[in-house]
Amino acid sequence: MDDDLNRAPCGYLSLDQAGVIWAINATLEAWLGYPAQELLGQPVDSILPVASRMLYQSYFTPLLISHGQVEELFIRFQAASGQEEPLLINAIRREKGGQVCIECILVPVRRRIQYEEEILRARKEAERAARMKMQAVEALEEAHIALEAKQAELLEANARLEALASQDHLTGLKNRRVFIDYLAFHIAMVKRSPAPLSIILIDIDKFKNINDRYGHPVGDIYLQRLAQLMYDNLREIDLLSRYGGEEFAIVLPDTDQSMAALVAERLRSAVLLADWPQSPITISMGIATYTSEIHSDVALIFLADRALYASKDNGRNCFTHASELGILPAVKQPR
């Protein structure tokens, strides 16, 4: 070997294709601490720790085969002392005297590697922290999504409860509670800005006979059909409700006595002309219209109820207005 190369301030190693050491310079031997010439003819594996042998085989060799050279590969060599020596290696693969030869230049990188390890440690720590943060954010997002789903469920359940609380299950009409709320609201309104307001109470005539003759399921169908029939004959602002068993009640905003009578007549004839599953039915109605002498929803309902009873007494299939009863002054305090 050229004396300059032998003593150059870098390691020099020459291998054959099978990785057997052909030549090694004095500098590298001194770094690794092996006696001169001891390594010649030995496989390079003998001065590589196990992990480095794998790196040599899985990275160094393929790279030499595919690119003909390796640049700046970091690898640890096994020193005679048992210590591992971190080295940076550059290698080329070329033909020399008809044979493939692998020539390597090596430089120790002990200090650099220490810095790099610190950087890698910091990087890993940062990555770990970033990963944990990401996981925390993901968990938070999941929790948020779960919360939103729960809230949606709750809203839906509330809506269902609200419907249950305000609706009559059989006819789909609003129930008595809603009727009273709606009526109270409109009374409050007309007290502030005067406008006509009427209500109608409706009762099916001799409905007990239907139930007794055809059974309750048929009776239910009558109630549903009647509800639909009346609903179809009312305006959007009117509120039709199922008041009790076979009793219905309507709030008619912006409707005076004569208009309420028209509505009642329309309903009466519609019921009379409708097709019924079994025998036909008729309805009796009581109408009351709000005046300044009537102070409450209760009083108005009381009047309409009395009117309804008058209709029953008058032979049914008709309507009566509370004003015809001649009791108005007496109902200022209905209780």
Partner: protein
């Protein structure tokens, strides 16, 4: 499936035969590592070479750190190529980690492959004594990955995130990443990690596809007992111990490698 699997995996097709022969490369390699072996089969087979996503001239943009975080992501590459080309009865030849990728692919698509040819294969590189001697201590493998970390995740990866701390100049980070090819290195490192730390021993008994195990002498990665272990755990497998030495017999001893594959296929 990716819209263009063939471009993504840099697929090259040659040969005058009809039965497909698919060659899978190992870690740190690409399809060129088959250049001394594959042409020998062009007379009678349809030879298909490819690069796994992240290796060789594959489309780096298709790399996903999630998909390729286990060998089954690579098996997906193989299966998608088979689907795209509508391969019937292909023979899969896998070197090193590709052997296990082939095994996983054969399990995901039962009955697809006619044969698996496993060159320098190991289901697990580390020891699990007393049941299994993979040849290495886990600490050796961690040492190997540690060195690779220095080689792959060097300065570029350190510098790029620092640059990214300048949100007003995002182009800086992009530029740095591009010039240092950080992504390539990260891909290599992840591939190294799953290559050397995977353990697919438990799936071996489920493999139905007949396999030929080709075990070179003095393979630094695969001790002889590992080949024997594979043979015992792969039903209907054959094992062939080669004269060739080293982990890359398809490059260093192509003639013997071709002969053994040829004889095996002729005997079917």
């Amino acid at each position: 499936m990716a819209p263009n699997t063939l471009a993504r995996n840099n697929v090259h097709i040659s040969g005058r035969g009809t039965q497909p022969m698919l060659f899978g490369h190992g870690f740190g390699c690409d399809q060129r590592f088959w250049r001394l072996v594959a042409p020998a089969f062009e007379d009678h087979y349809r030879v298909i070479l490819f690069d796994y996503v992240g290796s060789g001239k594959s489309d780096r943009d298709a790399y996903s750190f999630t998909r390729y975080s286990s060998l089954s992501g690579y098996a997906q590459d193989v299966l998608e190529i088979c689907t795209e080309l509508e391969l019937k009865n292909p023979i899969f030849v896998g070197h090193s980690v590709s052997s296990m990728i082939g095994i996983l692919a054969s399990l995901q698509a039962p009955g697809l492959f006619q044969q698996l040819i496993l060159l320098g294969a190991s289901p697990c590189y580390f020891n699990d004594l007393p049941h299994y001697a993979g040849g290495y201590q886990r600490s050796d493998l961690e040492g190997l990955l540690g060195m690779m970390e220095h080689n792959y995740l060097g300065w570029a990866n350190y510098v790029a995130p620092v640059a990214m701390k300048n949100p007003e100049r995002p182009e800086l980070a992009l530029e740095l990443e591009a010039s240092f090819c950080a992504t390539d290195h990260e891909i290599m490192y992840q591939f190294a990690e799953i290559t050397f730390l995977s353990d697919v021993r438990e799936v071996l008994p489920r493999v139905q596809t007949p396999a030929l195990i080709m075990q070179p002498a003095e393979d630094a990665f695969v001790p002889l007992p590992v080949a024997e272990y594979l043979h015992q755990h792969l039903a209907g497998s054959q094992v062939k111990y080669m004269q060739a030495t080293g982990h890359f017999p398809h490059l260093s001893y192509p003639v013997e490698t071709i002969q053994i594959i040829q004889q095996h296929l002729d005997s079917l």
